[in-house]
């Protein structure tokens, strides 16, 4: 048997996968990137190997992606996260037309054509509005763990609005809503709506068509996904593990390289 690896080192998390000849996922790992991205990539890769019950010697080739793709020690090649998310999402959903990926420091909408080819893409401008970091900051202000933010939002009964698109100003808005005695659940919902609206704006710019798939860490937030579907007026599919789609795409590129 032959195996391939993909490592996606982003601003917030380092994700790695191992696949076989058929592109089946054998193991994966997700770790916080921390301050040493090279080390994080190695640890994620080791974790994925362990989950797959393999050793480095079993792997033919590794590709990397993400912001630190050039720094990944194990990788023989690198692709941008745009190509990798398109490739990975296409492998999971062959009829995918639009990908919405919200990662730690950027959000992007990708229009995908035949074979997972990127037709067009747009990314957020340089600011962190509408990215994972935005949610992280808001979760901090609400003293709620990031992965509980959607549960909190689910209990919302009153509609509040966060009007600023700037992460820093939005945080002050959250703080001022708290001091007005507003319910954390309603604030969590308002925060989720702010990021969803911002993302829809991005997606509309690239053009939404075909099946819509959401990837990246923020796709784990049900509140954001549901709001996205509601505003887009179309269902939004989320893979079982949306955070490893980029790494999966990288592994597929590694497999498809000849030799």
């Amino acid at each position: 048997m032959r195996f391939w690896g993909g490592i996606d080192v982003g601003s917030l998390s380092a994700d790695a996968v191992i696949i076989d000849e058929e592109g089946r996922l054998l193991g994966h790992a997700i770790l916080p990137t921390g301050r040493d991205s090279r080390e994080a990539g190695s640890r994620a890769y080791a974790g994925a190997l362990e989950a797959a019950g393999l050793t480095p010697g079993d792997v033919v080739r590794v590709y990397s992606t993400g912001y630190s793709r050039a720094r990944v020690r194990e990788a023989e090649g690198a692709k941008t996260e745009i190509a990798c998310h398109a490739r990975g999402a296409h492998a999971l959903y062959p009829d995918v037309g639009t990908i919405i990926d919200i990662g730690g420091q950027d959000s992007k909408a990708i229009q995908v054509g035949k074979g997972g080819r990127v037709l067009n893409f747009v990314m957020n401008d340089k600011c962190a509005a509408g990215t994972g970091r935005f949610l992280e900051v808001m979760a901090g202000a609400l003293e709620t763990p990031l992965d509980h933010l959607d549960e909190l939002a689910a209990q919302s009964t009153e509609t509040l609005t966060i009007s600023s698109i700037c992460t820093v100003f939005a945080e002050s808005e959250v703080v001022s809503l708290i001091s007005q005695g507003k319910k954390p659940a309603d604030i969590a919902m308002a925060v989720s709506r702010a990021i969803a609206r911002r993302t829809v704006g991005l997606a509309t710019r690239v053009g939404v068509s075909g099946r819509v798939v959401m990837t990246g860490g923020v796709a784990k937030n049900r509140a954001v996904v549901d709001l996205l579907a509601e505003i887009l007026g179309a269902p939004v599919d989320v893979p079982d593990e949306p955070q490893i789609v980029g790494a999966l795409g990288a592994a597929l590129f590694a497999r498809d390289e000849r030799g």
Binding site: T80, I82, Q105, D106, N120, F121, K126
Partner: protein, 401 residues
């Protein structure tokens, strides 16, 4: 940057220009915008000084941040054009590559490049207590009309009277004809140089043309400018004939829209070299070739010729015309894609860019990318973010090929 022999001549030319401007006792100094009809100044032996050119030099020398901070400390908003802020700062600190600009006796600005220049030049006029002449060049929505030309020509006639009053002698029409001839000649060489980039592989890339813009912006209308571009033309033409590429192994040929990112020239050059991607043509550098476009009988009147060429600049015309022009360049220069620099400083250049990208991609079937950056302000630039977008763009050209 491609190593042209001629480059040292440009340095000499520009140094001599700034030296004369800083030391002259006889000649009046006028601060002027890049798209203003400088020919009228040279006709009256006035030295034009270009704050825009100076601001770009400051940024290329990595001095713009300190200068902008000085301007911001005096209350100029970060949302104002970074050229304006850099120049305000250079004026406050008397900083930058040549230690600030020589004080102006009067100012000349033209609105064909933006409307910011009106307020920008009003600030300078107040500070130095000098007269300001504004040439209002209306936006060209659907092609040039007689009304537009006449309106602009009338202002040129006023400008002549204004210059006569300033200098205390009658306007020199004979000299104007000579200056105009030199200006056209320089523009013609400049355009011929840029057109050599149609050669595959291109002997000159757009980062080169950004660097070599200096004289055509600041010295068009002088013999030195003509001589310089003639020499550069001959050198580049020689390289084109010998098929010497400016980017070894050229694989992708790309258009760059909008101004350069002056403080990232070196890094972007390495980035594109490594990826065998040549920036072949730019709407920006092309803007100074306009004077050579008119040789017909109908443009025999020099005033109408000047009016037409100063109205007919890329950022002064409408969306349809921009699309038509860009599509033409994509074919004429055998391009594989295009990069649009959404420039925080230059709103009239960047407005509608996403729509432009979509339309141009559809019409040409070639990929394009929009990057969010700035011509002069490194504080709003992120290497990782920009390069991720550019890499994805290059991947999409690879997939399309």
């Amino acid at each position: 940057m491609t190593e042209f022999q001629t480059f040292s001549k440009m340095k000499e030319l520009m140094t001599a220009y700034y030296f004369e401007a800083k030391t002259t006792k006889e000649k009046p100094i006028a601060w002027i915008t890049s798209g203003a009809p400088v020919e009228f100044l040279f006709a009256m032996d006035i030295i034009p000084i270009y704050p825009e050119n100076y601001a770009a030099m400051c940024a290329a020398n990595h001095q713009s941040v300190e200068l902008m901070e000085a301007a911001e400390a005096q209350g100029f908003s970060q949302d104002i054009c970074a050229y304006a802020r850099t120049d305000f700062g250079a004026d406050i600190l008397q900083g930058g590559p040549v230690g600030g600009l020589p004080a102006p006796h009067f100012l000349l600005c033209s609105t064909n490049i933006c409307k910011t220049v009106i307020k920008w030049y009003e600030v300078i006029a107040r500070k130095y207590d000098v007269p300001l002449f504004i040439v209002d060049t209306p936006f060209v929505h659907d092609g040039l009309t007689d009304d537009l030309l006449e309106y602009t020509v009338a202002q040129f006639k006023d400008l002549e009277q204004f210059l006569a009053r300033i200098t205390g002698r009658p306007f020199d029409h004979e000299h104007l004809a000579e200056v105009l001839r030199l200006s056209q000649e320089a523009a013609a060489y400049w355009k011929k140089i840029l057109f050599l980039a149609r050669t595959v592989p291109t002997p000159i890339n757009s980062l080169d043309s950004f660097i070599h813009l200096g004289p055509i912006v600041t010295l068009r209308g002088t013999q030195g400018c003509v001589d310089y571009y003639q020499a550069l033309y001959e050198e580049v033409a020689g390289r084109a004939a010998d098929k010497i590429p400016s980017v070894p192994g050229e694989r992708y040929r790309v258009l760059w829209d909008n101004l350069p990112v002056w403080f990232k020239m070196r890094r972007l050059e390495n980035f594109f070299q490594e990826r065998k991607c040549a920036l072949v043509v730019t709407t920006y550098a092309n803007s100074w070739g306009g004077l050579s476009n008119y040789e017909d009988e109908e443009m025999a009147d020099p005033y109408r010729l000047l009016a037409a060429s100063y109205l007919n600049v890329y950022i002064n015309y409408g969306f349809e015309e921009r699309i038509r022009y860009l599509s033409g360049l994509m074919d004429e220069f055998s391009l594989t894609g295009f990069i649009m620099h959404s420039n925080r400083s230059c709103k009239p250049y960047s407005v509608g860019m996403y729509r432009l990208q979509e339309e141009l991609s559809q019409r040409t079937g070639r990929p394009g990318v929009v990057i969010e950056a700035d011509q002069n302000d490194p504080r709003v630039y992120s290497d990782a973010q920009i390069e991720a977008r550019l890499d994805a763009f290059i991947e999409s050209m690879e997939a399309a090929s």
